[in-house]
Symmetry: C2
Subunit: 570 residues, 2 copies
């Protein structure tokens, strides 16, 4: 493609609302154009990358026998009312009504729609499994869209759904998708990690779910990993390391003055003890089926609460940190709470030894108390794993874990019969009995991948594309003033083009500095430079690796061969 | 693709809301599944055809240097308010607001969005022309969606937009698109006609517009054509044929009793004159800038009014046939109106000779009057071409025209500077002066093409696909009971597959009649039939042309060669 005839413009300025590199670079490199808050137009070069991503996804899903369909972007409210999600989905679903006053929404996801398609045509276990996918536009009305296409409101998603007669079949297909996803993200050239994910409170027993996370410092997710374990911190199952020998209780509760110490850290310092000899209380308000409950959660002084686990355990509809008012209503003293003589329900983290002594809040402004042990005050304490996993916790095999950040680009999920049940979808089983098929669902954030790839691979000059999703194979920069040499550069362009290389030819009438800056910003992995002087003197061109900056001078007649070789190695 | 592993089901029943063959057949053949009123999901085989259509379009647009982009499906209301179309577009635009109460709509078209993209990046005539296209989802909230995907509310459209520094450039690009469209519709295998289209009241002088119409009896548009002329009836410019010698006026107006005759036909019969010696009055109500006007339009007794032309001439915002109440308010007598002594504005069709005598209504219940001539009563009559063209009118070269019906699948249009002006979009011209670029827009109804192709090509058994948009190249039907022969049929399938043929393999465990019926319904142009008995006895297969029904018996080893030959000839 000739740049002189292309619709492409780059920008020096970063967009005022951009917080992360990918948003800055996608805008500056002319890949996207903002349409509205969290809504973007894909410009030609951005769309080219999107198409490559889509085709890689298609290739691997076709291989596992999933069939592509395209569900409508707008779906009738009726279907969502039938499943109950018209009410339950939350405010991210953009609802409206048409001129006949019928409820509609722009689909934020398609479980209902695909189940409706399924129930209209499949009647027997013989037609199972069914595996369908689509790549289309979705909309979620995020309150604070940000990060460009990474957390936009309108986005392109690949979503797949499978239907099964039994759990074995679901497990097999889940494995197929797991494998296909690994292949997809490898093909996309991304550094990613598969992690166990939060299955939510409603997940059935044995119901699996995994996230595919692109590793990047700007990722919104925290991942816990070791050689043999990886999980989203939300769901991570690790063992706490207790660094000291905890003491047994030596007497009654002992009130001590801690006038200015309201954090466990300060209390430990004041008392000259290890922070692991203190317990921390955190108070939440859980709303379930419309009624509120105050929950006191207790963890080691050096731990934090995993709110997702707590919410799942409580099966809350909403879980929020209690406000000062909530605390006052419950007679709790902020900064000085202890799990003794208080009314609300108390939940202890299961890592806390029940008969060891800890310092806890005194339930009195300016006081803590020593000599608390769970077993002394609770005959049947409610204990679950609610602490947030952290670096150096141990995995199941006793190895310390690390933390990194990731961008969720894929999520696979065993749904069970939630949607087939709520949408009265049945097939006849082998014995002629009616059964609700089990479902799996499998998502990939297609537009988000663009952003994630750039977060993972860029430098101060611009983007550095993984080759399989680069808008072009080669950026050919011609620096020629005379017509004679412009013609030669054009011949070289055609030589590459005719060899099937998708080459971007910078034949614009602008200075070399401008061209080089644009090329580095756009980030095609290999740049070929035709300089009139070099060519005139030595018949040479330069080929530059965008990532390493390495420059090789080559004879003109070798250019194609060298390019193919370097490209192969990328 | 093996049917035993495919998600595909056919139906015997026609959908209750289907009025035309394509809607019936697309549903029965399992190409689409209804999601809601005027909203459809594309099932695997339907989507395959859509993708083929899209790729043919892409090929030809890429060839003329148009660049693909993808604009957001949801666009902010602001942009439409800026252009004025938030108010003017009409109720087909589906508007709503997000959780921050900002106005949004699902784009029914994208002139505003593309102009916004353009104005953010192009500043100089040097960067012109710009040519951009997209293939994406649009929504128009039709009050009466019908005909399946042909007049759905959600649909896939290819829309292209070009920007130019001058009319010459616009004309050149318009010609490129015209040519590309001809190539596209030829490649799609459609029998189509390019016709002059209605440019609307706002079109500038010399502003061209053409429609690409697929010929089909069920088409909603009427087309006027001769060897050298073709136009949508809405805009057709033809010459009326007057079959008799009209008489001059012989005296004063002469009231005659026509007690039961309110149509021109009946009056002519009663008086023993030719219907062309009568004039017909039709009354309309025109709303413009909020104020109403009653208009009496007068044509020959055997003519009808072209409402589009009248509306354009009046530059009405809305034009409707006057109601009985409107007539009463204007003191007009229904069935007996004449253009004499009445208050409303009268517009005569320009084909009516001004000094010839006609019978007109008497403006009195049960009466007509003779001896009316325009020149006798109107010093400056308002005359324009407002009659509806009809069969046997003459084109400019004097040849009689015919009428046929068409389905509009493409429309190209010179927009002028309407949107660049309203959206304050300027570039600097050669002299450093600011100018509003001229635009062209070019649409193709992608999902509608599916329906149009089927309207044009089907029989009582089902669809007959044009080969380039058929979901598959070949429908291979295996009729084998034994495992041994099933295996042989599978080998033949792989032979075709390995040769790069997109073959649908009916390996299902159902009876031959069922398979043949499904194959005819789905309509792949060539069917290959493997019958166990034939193969066992003679090593032969049959190859059937879906359209002609012709069946050829061939040796197994010739099958691929014969298929390729027949396919080439399709």
């Amino acid at each position: 493609m000739k740049l002189s005839k292309s619709f492409w413009k780059t920008y020096k300025e970063k967009p005022t609302d951009a917080e992360i590199p990918s948003h800055v670079l996608m805008t500056r490199a002319g890949l996207i154009s903002k349409s509205g808050s969290g809504i973007y137009n894909l410009l030609p070069f951005g769309l080219k990358s999107i198409r490559k991503i889509e085709n890689i996804i298609r290739k691997h899903l076709d291989q596992i026998g999933s069939m592509e369909i395209s569900m409508s972007v707008v779906t009738p409210g009726e279907l969502w009312k039938e499943s109950g999600r018209w009410k339950d989905f939350g405010s991210e679903m953009l609802k409206f009504s048409d001129k006949l006053n019928k409820d509609l929404c722009i689909s934020p996801t398609n479980e209902e729609a695909v189940t409706d398609i399924f129930r209209k045509s499949v009647k027997s276990y013989k037609d199972l499994p069914v595996s369908l996918y689509q790549i289309n536009t979705k909309f979620r009305d995020e309150i604070r869209p940000r990060f460009g296409v990474m957390r936009g409101r309108e986005f392109i998603m690949k979503d797949a759904y499978t239907f099964h007669a039994d759990k074995d079949c679901l497990d097999r297909e889940y494995k197929n998708f797991y494998q296909a996803y690994e292949n997809i993200f490898k093909d996309l050239g991304l550094d990613f990690r598969v992690v166990e994910a939060d299955a939510g409170a409603m997940a059935g027993p044995g119901s699996q779910t995994h996230e595919f996370q692109v590793l990047a410092d700007t990722g919104e997710d925290e991942l816990i990993y070791s050689d043999s374990y990886a999980a989203n911190i939300e769901t991570a199952n690790t063992q706490k390391v207790i660094n000291i020998e905890l003491q047994s209780v030596t007497g009654e509760l002992d009130l001590i003055s801690t006038p200015n110490e309201s954090t466990c850290e300060d209390v430990a310092k004041l008392l000259g003890i290890n922070i692991q000899e203190t317990l921390k209380c955190l108070v939440f308000k859980s709303i379930k089926d419309g009624s509120e409950e105050i929950i006191i959660s207790v963890v080691f002084g050096d731990d934090e609460i995993n709110e997702v686990k707590l919410k799942n355990y409580l099966a809350s509809d909403h879980l929020t940190v209690a406000t000062d008012n909530d605390l006052m209503d419950a007679n709790l003293v902020k900064g000085f709470m202890g799990p003794v003589d208080i009314k609300p329900r108390v939940i202890f983290d299961s890592s806390i030894p029940k008969d060891k002594a800890f310092v806890i809040g005194g339930n009195k402004e300016g006081y803590h108390q020593r000599n608390f042990a769970i077993s002394k005050f609770y005959a049947n304490p409610e204990t679950i794993d609610i602490r947030l996993a952290k670096e150096n916790d141990l995995d199941k095999s006793g190895k310390p874990v690390k933390i990194c950040r990731g961008i969720e680009v894929g999520h696979i999920f065993q749904l069970g019969d939630k949607y087939t049940k709520s949408l009265s979808t049945t097939v006849l089983d082998k014995n002629g009995k009616s059964m609700s098929p089990l479902m799996g669902c499998y998502g990939i954030g297609v537009s988000r991948i663009l952003g994630a790839a750039i977060e993972q691979s860029h430098d101060e000059k611009g983007i550095i594309w993984p080759k399989n999703i680069s808008p072009f194979d080669l950026h050919f920069i011609a620096i020629a003033k005379s017509e004679e040499y412009s013609k030669i550069s054009e011949e070289i362009y055609h030589q590459f083009k005719n060899a099937g290389i998708d080459v971007l030819f910078d034949d614009r009438n602008v200075g070399p500095g401008f061209k080089f800056k644009d090329a580095d910003l756009l980030g095609i992995p290999l740049q070929l430079v035709f300089g009139e002087r070099d060519y005139k003197e030595n018949k040479t061109l330069n080929i530059i690796n965008r990532k390493s900056g390495e420059k090789i001078t080559i004879k003109a007649e070798e250019a194609l061969g060298v390019f193919l070789e370097l490209n192969e190695k990328l």
